[in-house]
Symmetry: C2
Subunit: 479 residues, 2 copies
């Protein structure tokens, strides 16, 4: 059996939890000690604490940088700062790279430019660019100036690509060879060069102008006859990307075609980098974590340890918009106060009509958002979806409207009221399907993220129209 220096993940989880608990407890104890006046106790506690710190530092050193980042994320700010001091200087860059945005920002904010430069220096230049992209302009320039010349140039070039493009995500470290070389010559070149860049499963074949000619897989390099030339074995039609391609297209292609790496070309068709499945996996995972938060108007980089008033304020925009729409819906009801006084059952029943509209509409929104993400809503498909959702809503509106009408009849023995609520339900479900399709589709057309705004628009429509239809029909029929 394998000796697990990398422990299996179950043991790892335990190990992480243990370290998190020790670090948290230490921070609390230090707090108590610093408040106590007893000098003797202080000295002893200090010694114990120093010993504990050494042990913790050793344990953290055995963790993968991603696990150190996990521990830091789990700690309260004071304990986090203390834990950060226990991380070896040579590993801090790698840990920062793995940490969540909010945590990274907190740690970097406490460091002077010289320390940031020293921390990131061991990293690849594209990783350095990721880390310093978030710094305020002035501090970024300061850190950049302290890096060595070749890193500076590379970092500047990565920083020049807008967020969300393949250029901003690409890895600058790749191996390229000429097509007239023999496999044997390539192997000798690689051995001279030393280790390969992470995840290398193919090397790029370029001409003198650095234009891509093809790719040679490590498999072919290993299994081919050493006398064969690169040109004989290379794939001359590889999947490739341009620096200005959107990242989500690269994610889709990696998923569909099972890629591990792919060359990235500039607009002159020269190879300038590569994109790897790692960054694709990270970007997909980030999207998964972000999606649910965005639906409710939160940003991904919530620091769960931010002060309460700041955390509360982060939720204001969403709550403010929702209060405004709820208030407008409420004014719709206000216009019908007379009829409610004549038949108070209307007030009792009206939230049901609004709520069922919201629920069916959200089902439609979910289907549309999936269709948009998968690129399955071109012209004819969209038309088909519209008719289909309207038909499904009408079908469900008739059935659930009848159920609700029956319930209302049993409760209030008022056939007119039962009829009104049945018809109102049907009509509001049709409103819900219509808005549920067009809200996300139009947001998408205008370049907005449909995940962010669709629910608000939908709920506004199904609430206000639900009240209007139900109370309006009641005024027409029941008075």
């Amino acid at each position: 059996m394998v000796e697990t220096q990398h422990p299996h993940h179950r043991h790892l989880e335990q190990a992480r939890s243990q370290v998190i608990e020790l670090l948290s407890r230490q921070a609390i104890e230090r707090d108590i000690v610093s408040r106590s006046e007893n000098r003797n106790q202080d000295v002893v506690a200090g010694l114990v604490a120093r010993q504990q710190r050494t042990q913790l530092s050793l344990r953290l050193a055995q963790f993968h940088p991603a696990d150190v980042a996990f521990v830091l994320e789990a700690l309260a700010p004071e304990a986090r700062a203390a834990a950060w001091n226990l991380v070896g200087h040579d590993r801090r860059g790698a840990v920062l790279l793995e940490a969540a945005d909010a945590v990274r920002r907190q740690l970097v904010a406490a460091m002077p430019a010289a320390e940031i430069a020293a921390t990131v220096a061991p990293l690849d230049s594209d990783d350095i660019a990721d880390l310093i992209a978030e710094l305020p302009d002035e501090q970024r320039a300061d850190v950049l100036a302290r890096l060595d010349q070749s890193d500076q140039a590379a970092v500047r070039s990565v920083l020049s690509f807008p967020d969300g493009t393949v250029g901003a995500e690409m890895d600058l470290d790749f191996v390229s060879v000429r097509e007239d070389a023999s496999l044997d010559a390539v192997l000798r070149y690689l051995r001279r060069r030393g280790r390969l860049p992470d995840d290398t499963n193919q090397i790029f074949v370029v001409d003198r102008q650095n234009n891509l000619r093809g790719v040679l897989s490590l498999e072919h390099l290993l299994l081919g006859d050493p006398e064969q030339s690169v040109a004989e074995l290379m794939d001359a039609n590889p999947r490739l990307f341009y620096t200005d391609d959107p990242v989500h297209e690269a994610v889709g292609a990696f998923e569909r075609y099972d890629l591990i790496t792919a060359p990235v070309l500039n607009l002159q068709n020269q190879v300038v980098g590569r994109i790897t499945v790692d960054s694709v996996l990270d970007s997909l995972n980030e999207r998964l974590q972000r999606q649910r938060l965005e639906e409710v108007g939160l940003s991904e980089d919530q620091d769960v340890y931010a002060p309460i008033p700041q955390a509360a304020r982060e939720r204001w925009a969403w709550l403010g918009i929702n209060l405004a729409t709820a208030f407008i819906s409420s004014r719709v009801i206000g216009a019908f106060e007379d009829i409610i006084l004549q038949l108070v059952a209307l007030a009792t029943l009206m939230p049901i009509v609004a709520s069922m509209g919201g629920n069916t509409g959200n089902q439609t929104v979910a289907l549309v958002i999936r269709g948009l993400a998968l690129g399955q809503l071109g012209g004819p498909q969209l038309k088909r979806l519209v008719w289909r959702e309207l038909a499904v809503s009408a079908y469900n509106g008739v059935i659930w409207g009848a159920v609700l009408g029956l319930a209302a009849l049993l409760l209030y023995q008022n056939p007119g009221l039962a009829l009104v609520i049945s018809v109102a339900m049907l009509l509001n479900l049709i409103v819900a399907a219509t808005v549920g399709i067009f809200a996300p589709v139009l947001l998408d057309r205008f370049g907005r993220d449909p995940v962010r705004g669709s629910s608000i628009i939908l709920t506004f429509a199904t609430d206000s129209m639900g009240f209007l239809i139900f109370l309006g029909l009641a005024s027409l029929v029941l008075t």
Copy 2:
């Protein structure tokens, strides 16, 4: 510049859309022709149609199987069946593997067992297992019996692992060598063996009992001295998984540690397969697509071309539950009809209190679900989150309660009413935070998916409690 036989994805999107349109139009034209009585026109149309079919078949043959699957998914059922006939027999298995569940089920349902067996035969045995896992028991046995002996055994072994475990997702195709072999011997063995399994970035090192001793990266194999032994260059502590590990743990580990492949061991520590970043990426992408649908009670394998009544019924469970909860909330209002008749403004304002509760609660739910997914809600962290969310809610409740109270005061000039709505808002936001934390946490503790049920429970609580608190306070204070 590279000749793009694999066209760049922008051209690819156009090519796919074009084929989809041609196939859809053909299906419609065939429909018209078959209804027309004019025999002459029929013959000409038939010739044109045959020519078009040949062209379309050729174009489909140039597509990657994933792109053929995309085209099939975009087509209505009639056109889809016609297009399926244009796909070469040797590629059908690969296309099925890439297709969405609902589409795959439709295509497979139309095939007799012998045809299914012939279609899947060229695939890897773990892929065969994936495809036939969905068949009804009897048909599955029938297809299995028609496969060759070694495939049958392998497929049965994969089928024996429960869904959601690494065993069910693993790839059975891997290369293993002994640790005392020289690199040179390994290279000769690999050349004799021919091509490597997809995504191979390392080969497994095992002993006579097939127990894992370590892994040897292709990089070391390429760059090492041919005289060196495998043992000298292998990593003796690789990341590894067991067949009964949950897939989501493997996904987390691949993401954290940037893995490409990892060995999978049975409970006797023998290597039985490997898990690759491909299946991890697929599983993550599936989760992303599924999540939003699950929140609204839909399953992922919605066929957007299913008949209307069937599509409507798929939404019933969710709508039924929502109608039931909305109805109960409505009965809460019913208990206060007397006070509404005394002050109708209560009916107008009550939905605002309920709706703001639902919105803040959903923000809490989103944070908790992310925390659960990232494994960041252990005991002390959960406690901290509870206090924190309660504090944020109280803070926001005071502020937005005051805003709403002021608005009510301006509208109705009734200080008592303004006070009641402010306090009701504060209390309902605290209810929202409490339920927003405990609904997902408890669902998760009892092994249910928190994504599925949290919103329903939350909305039920914030609606019914919102009405109860607001109308209850009003009866106490205003009468």
